[in-house]
Symmetry: C2
């Protein structure tokens, strides 16, 4: 039985923060023994009449401070009190200048480095129910037997029907299930750009995408990404001059910049692709995570000329450990991709295909998406507020409307790669801009992946980064004063 | 409650055959209504004191005759009686000559075309128990989160420990988990044979293997496979002359021939590879399915020089719909394969990796292997006996000691590809030799995949094929009499 918890809905302090304080005090005062099990998020949400994201955020905060361990799914367990010496003391760390940090780095406690959903938000109970239904279902044998390179037929039917309803698949289109969007890129490279073809690609871009074409020997031309995505002038010049075979573009919440293409730009890109005979690969992996404003039609949806391949996945909503993505394109191309798929790995894992189908069909995916939108919106707002508050003067950052990533450009001459070691010494990490460069190396840039962190951790983490960047600026200023050229 | 079943252990009629007759009679006499559920194989095996393979074989026979439908796991259901007009009447089909077969082909009822385990032998109850344990286990969150390109760490540890104990992994070796052995071939092609390198390969060989290297632009040299596997003389000449980078070899129960390399040949191949600096890719996917005699050490096991890459998988024992295989090789190569893996699809599905790990760790995999060995032995013996009895004079066939496949060479001038259409018209199918050719097209050959069929179906199917081949021979003889050259 849980001791009483005192929450004030009228308070300016967010509810998850209040809950976190209540639980921390209970742990500190010994009312929870070490090893005691906290209630499951769903259970506590029911008891307190709160949203599950609120409970998750509070638990996440407790976990980041080492007060609880384990996972929401099987229960979280009390690990110690914030009075005990083993607890990670943010207050101490934050007071100490980096130079006096302990010789052995503390483990990274706040990671902005990975563009993935939080484990704590995984709907584990729904996942379990879904698995039970699949393994006890009438098709269990079929699922476990060798399958088709096109994908598990019921999942293909579900996705193609849904895509037709949404208008992203035409009558002449077909679908192939891939082992995540990463494999879709790989199959497209093998099928369309195996002989040194020219590929236009956003710069910066998700490195896994760049690496596929780089390794495949394609000639890559990077195009700048502005606040509204791919810059159209540069794109048009490149189409005319470079004679590309492919353009790879992320219309929604691009990784790493978070930028979204306005509708007019989508139409303009499609018109250019049609004029120059270029195939568009539209990576829409973040599309379902739109936190602010209305979703915009995909290029695929606008295209009735068959120039566009649309790539999607379940991985950014839930369970990225289950590798299932898909490509929608004109039938002739899907046939070629399916041949390449068969040679690559016969077919995508059927257990995961069947589980994700059931998860979607049962409405659980859409329920979970609602939760992810609420959590993502809070996290995005916390990120923007913390950037505003903590980043040094002269820093610029993007303002995504969805997805998982935001892009920061530090004032010159700061190098985000060099500053990373200092950040990690105090337990915060991120990916420097150079990881995402095609040809344009932006040493001052970094990516902040915010979706996997509770708002308070985002705030703490960005306040740490802000201080490190500020100190870096001060150091370079004092160095430049010392480095006045000799007057000879 | 099941009506009484009368079995005579002393009878010369096999028990599964007796059980089949009993059940057929119960269905025909109306003691089982249409739609009634038969007991699960495990349950009936317990009640009758029989092996589960016996029950499965009887059910498989009933299913092939259309008397029951559904799957052992959720129960099999009575579909009709053998008196009803919708039942597939083997006796009628077998009496009719092919020319009088109905214009619309009957569905193929006996397929020798796929080298995969029978769905009816899948241990569904054990699979369900395993899934339950995994999804309710402490690591559920970790499994569902993005994973490592090397593979799920606990599975990697389990496999590397097991491989070290068995002596197939050296201290300097490492492991990468792949999406089935097909992907291991693909990663090896990309890593070791991406620039037109020469690859020595068995001829005939599994087409999926050949296609990987063909598509990758490798220069392939096919080597003949005799009754004892790869012919050593041809191999030595090719190594000296062709300067290959790789040799791909299947030591145990090669697909399609079923041939096994004797220990002396394995040693000789290894010595040659060492002398000529050739990397051996040892495909051991069928290794665990040894029905007759003792298993022989793999080439990898004999090799302390780091020339060999060993490929294995769970797929031939159970659940090929779950795509998990692995490669064991010196650490430096595994690192390169892991890089290629990450670019291909990030990592292998973690749900399946975790389920298969639990299935193996719990001892269920080994229990199931025992069942598969019993069933496979029966099926192999039935195949050899039926070949002996039904194939026309002049036909030759291999005598595998394990695996799933046997290779038949028909007497000249029969073409197994041409005869296939006739076989399919009476409900039997197989793959003609040309599917497996690298350069040497053996028109007279065909592959019989026997592991997925109950002994009685094997017998029936081969008796049908024997008659079709015999008729083919008679036709060619009468044609050649008509085609005497004009005496001019």
């Amino acid at each position: 039985m849980l001791p009483p918890i005192h929450l004030d809905p009228q308070s300016s302090e967010p509810l998850y923060r209040q809950l976190y304080r209540n639980l921390r005090d209970l742990i500190d005062s010994g009312q929870f023994d070490k090893g005691a099990r906290l209630p499951a998020t769903r259970e506590l949400a029911g008891q307190l009449g709160l949203n599950r994201t609120t409970i998750s955020a509070a638990y996440e905060l407790l976990e980041s401070e080492g007060l609880i361990t384990g996972h929401v799914g099987r229960g979280s367990f009390v690990a110690g009190s914030s009075n005990s010496s083993s607890a990670f003391e943010w207050r101490d760390i934050l007071k100490e200048p980096p130079s006096s940090a302990p010789a052995t780095s503390p483990a990274v406690r706040i990671s902005f480095a990975t563009s993935r959903p939080s484990e704590l938000l995984f709907p584990l109970e729904d996942f379990r129910a879904t698995c039970e239904e699949v393994i006890h279902g009438a098709d269990a044998h079929t699922i476990l037997q060798l399958g088709s390179p096109s994908g598990y037929a019921p999942l293909r039917r579900y996705l193609i029907d849904k895509s037709r309803t949404e208008g992203v698949a035409e009558e002449a289109d077909d679908i192939v299930i891939t082992s995540g969007v990463q494999q879709a890129f790989d199959l497209l490279q093998r099928t369309l750009a195996a002989d040194g073809e020219t590929v236009l690609i956003e710069d910066p871009v998700y490195s896994g995408l760049r690496n596929v074409f780089q390794r495949g020997g394609a000639r890559m031309v990077g195009l700048p990404v502005g606040p509204h995505g791919l810059e159209l002038g540069a794109l048009e010049r490149a189409m005319a001059k470079e004679r590309p075979r492919l353009l790879v573009v992320t219309s929604n919440f691009q990784n790493p910049t978070g930028a979204t293409l306005p509708l007019a730009s989508r139409k303009a890109i499609l018109a250019m692709a049609q004029r120059f005979g270029v195939i568009i690969i539209e990576n829409d992996i973040y599309g379902p995570l739109c936190y602010e404003g209305d979703p915009i039609a995909t290029i695929k949806q606008l295209d009735d000329s068959g120039h566009t391949v649309l790539l999607r996945s379940f991985s950014k909503l839930a369970f990225p450990g289950l590798r299932v993505g898909w490509a929608i394109a004109p039938r002739a191309l899907i046939e070629k991709l399916t041949e390449a798929k068969q040679i690559s790995d016969l077919h995508t894992d059927q257990l995961s295909q069947a589980v994700l189908l059931r998860f979607a069909e049962s409405g659980r995916l859409e329920n979970h998406r609602t939760l992810m939108l609420t959590a993502g919106r809070e996290r995005l707002r916390a990120t923007l507020a913390a950037c505003e508050k903590y980043l040094p003067e002269g820093a610029a950052y993007t303002r995504p409307r969805g997805g998982m990533n935001l892009w920061i450009r530090l004032p010159q001459p700061l190098d985000a790669g060099e500053l990373l070691a200092r950040a990690e010494r105090v337990g915060v990490t991120y990916l420097p801009g150079r990881y995402f460069a095609v040809t344009n190396m932006e040493a001052s840039a970094l990516r902040i992946s915010f979706a996997g962190l509770a708002p308070d951790l985002i705030k703490t983490g960005l306040s740490v980064l802000g201080r490190i960047f500020q100190e870096g600026l001060e150091r370079t200023r004092s160095q430049s004063r010392l480095e006045v050229p000799a007057m000879v």
